[in-house]
C-alpha cells in the first residue's frame, strides 16, 4: 500500500491505496463520489473526466498515486456552496444538454476545463475541445450550446437565464 495525500473538491484527503487503484475507482469507491462514470474504461469516451490541477483528464487512465499531492475536481465539486447547480451545470440544464445523463458529469468537467483554458471559444473550438467526450443520446448540438452559454455567463455577458435556448448552432 502507498499513502496518497491530495485534495478532492477542496477537501484534503489522505488514504492508503494499492498502487494499481485507478483514480476513478478511488473517487467512486473509496470516497463515494459517484459523479465520474466508467463508460469505456479505454480512455476513449470521457465519461470519467475530472480535473487534475485544473486540467481535464480521464480518471480511468490515471492511477490514484499519480494524483498524490495534487488537486482533483469532480462534478460534485462544481456545485455552488448553497447546493444550487454551478454555472456549467446550469447551462447544460437550460440548453437541454443531456438526455440519459451518463456522459454529463464528464462533459461538465471537460467544458469546465476547456473554458479555463479558453474562456471565449468559438463553436468550432468547443467541438474540438470536446473531442474526447462521447454522448450516445443528444447528437451534441445542445451540449455545444450549453458550453457556449456557460462561456457567455462566465464572461458576465449574459445574466443567468437570458440566453435564448435556440441559439444558432450549425450542424
Amino acid at each position: 500500500m502507498t499513502e496518497v495525500k491530495l485534495t478532492v473538491n477542496g477537501v484534503a484527503r489522505s488514504d492508503e491505496v494499492e498502487p494499481r487503484l485507478l483514480l476513478v475507482h478511488y473517487l467512486r469507491e473509496t470516497l463515494g463520489l459517484r459523479a465520474a462514470n466508467v463508460g469505456c474504461d479505454t480512455t476513449s469516451c470521457g465519461a470519467c473526466t475530472v480535473l487534475l490541477d485544473g486540467e481535464s483528464v480521464k480518471s480511468c487512465t490515471v492511477l490514484a498515486v499519480q494524483a498524490n499531492g495534487r488537486a482533483v475536481t469532480t462534478a460534485e465539486g462544481v456545485v455552488n456552496a448553497d447546493g444550487t447547480l454551478g454555472v456549467v451545470q446550469q447551462a447544460f440544464r437550460e440548453e437541454h444538454g443531456l438526455q440519459c445523463g451518463f456522459c454529463t458529469p464528464g462533459m461538465v468537467m471537460a467544458v469546465t476545463g476547456l473554458l479555463a483554458e479558453n474562456p471565449r471559444p468559438t463553436e468550432q473550438e468547443v467541438r474540438e475541445g470536446l473531442e474526447g467526450n462521447f454522448c450516445r443520446c443528444t447528437g451534441y448540438h445542445n451540449i455545444v450550446r450549453a458550453a457556449l452559454n456557460a462561456a457567455a455567463r462566465l464572461q458576465g455577458a449574459v445574466p443567468s437565464g437570458t440566453v435564448p435556448s435556440n441559439t444558432e448552432v450549425s450542424a
Partner: protein
C-alpha cells in the same frame, strides 16, 4: 479493468530513476503520462512488477533553446508542446502535430518522451520528429548518448532504447526565419475516421523531408519522394513516389493498397503546405 499488482516508485531525479532501473532490472518500467502503458497494463499486454514514475522529475521536463537547437525534456506533455510559443515561432509543425494527438484529456497526460519510447508506427510525434531530423538523447549507466531519429526506431514498438536507459530529451534543429523572412515550409496530414484516433496514414513534410506514419513497422521517410524533389520534380510527380519502399499492413480501417493510395494523396497535400 484493473492492472495486475505492481510496486510504485517515484523518481526524484534522472539519476534516481537510473538507479531504480538498475535495482529492479527488466521487471521495471518507467511511467511517464501512462497513456500507452496503463491501457496495456489493464489488458495485461504489459505486466511490470515495478513502475518508476518519472513524471515528477523537474529536470526531465520543459522546452528550452540551446544554440541552434530546441531541447525538449522527455516528460514535456503534448499540451505543453501544442501551446509552446517557442515551438509556434520556430518549429510550428511540432506544435501542430502535438495538437493532433488524441484529445485534450490525453494531451494533458501524454508526453513526447513516452510517445517516442513507445515507438508506435502510427503515432503523430515520432513521424514529425523524423520529418524534422531530430536527435534523441538517451541517458544510461554509462552517460548520455545522442541517436539521430533516423536510427532510433527499429520495429513496431521497438527502438534502440535499452531497459536500463532513459530517453532524457529530444533535440530539434531551430528554424529561425532566414533573411528572406521564410520560416519552416511544412505541411501535415492525418487521415482518421474517428475522433481521438491514430492515423490510418499520416504524413509530415518539412523543408524537403517527408515522413509517413502507419506505412510500415516504424515511421518511415519517403526517400523516393525526397530524392525526386531534390532533382527538380514537381510536387505532383514527387508525391506519386510516396509509397515506394513502404510495407503498409492491413486492418479493418484500410488494406495495403488503400494505404499506398492515401500516402500518395496525403504527401501531395502535405507538400502543398496543407494541414488536416
Amino acid at each position: 479493468m484493473i492492472p495486475a499488482s505492481f510496486e510504485y516508485e517515484v523518481a526524484t531525479s534522472a539519476q534516481h530513476a537510473l538507479a531504480l532501473l538498475a535495482e529492479h532490472g527488466e521487471d521495471a518500467k518507467l511511467l511517464a503520462g501512462g497513456h500507452s502503458l496503463l491501457p496495456m497494463m489493464k489488458v495485461r499486454l504489459a505486466q511490470p512488477a515495478v513502475l518508476i514514475d518519472i513524471a515528477r522529475v523537474p529536470e526531465l521536463s520543459g522546452i528550452r533553446v540551446d544554440g541552434d537547437e530546441i531541447v525538449i525534456g522527455a516528460t514535456t506533455r503534448h499540451a505543453d508542446l501544442a501551446s509552446s510559443e517557442v515551438l509556434a515561432a520556430e518549429v510550428p509543425i511540432l506544435a501542430y502535430a502535438a495538437a493532433q494527438v488524441g484529445d485534450p484529456q490525453i494531451r494533458h497526460r501524454g508526453t513526447i518522451g513516452g510517445s517516442v519510447a513507445h515507438a508506435d508506427p502510427s503515432a503523430d510525434l515520432p513521424m514529425t520528429l523524423l520529418a524534422l531530423g531530430a536527435t534523441i538523447e538517451i541517458t544510461g549507466p554509462a552517460g548520455t548518448r545522442a541517436v539521430g531519429v533516423d536510427d532510433f526506431f527499429t520495429g513496431p514498438f521497438e527502438s534502440v532504447l535499452q531497459p536500463d536507459e532513459i530517453l532524457s530529451a529530444i533535440r530539434v534543429p531551430r528554424h529561425r526565419d532566414d533573411k528572406a523572412g521564410a520560416g519552416q515550409t511544412w505541411g501535415y496530414q492525418k487521415f482518421v475516421r474517428r475522433a481521438n484516433d491514430w492515423a490510418i496514414v499520416g504524413v509530415a513534410a518539412c523543408d524537403g523531408r517527408v515522413a509517413l506514419a502507419s506505412m510500415g513497422g516504424t515511421p518511415l521517410r519517403a526517400h523516393a519522394t525526397e530524392d525526386a524533389l531534390r532533382s527538380g520534380a514537381s510536387i505532383q510527380e514527387a508525391a506519386q513516389l510516396a509509397a515506394v519502399g513502404t510495407s503498409p499492413g492491413a486492418d479493418f480501417h484500410a488494406d495495403a493498397d488503400f494505404r499506398e493510395h492515401l500516402a500518395r494523396v496525403l504527401t501531395r497535400r502535405a507538400l502543398e503546405g496543407r494541414t488536416g
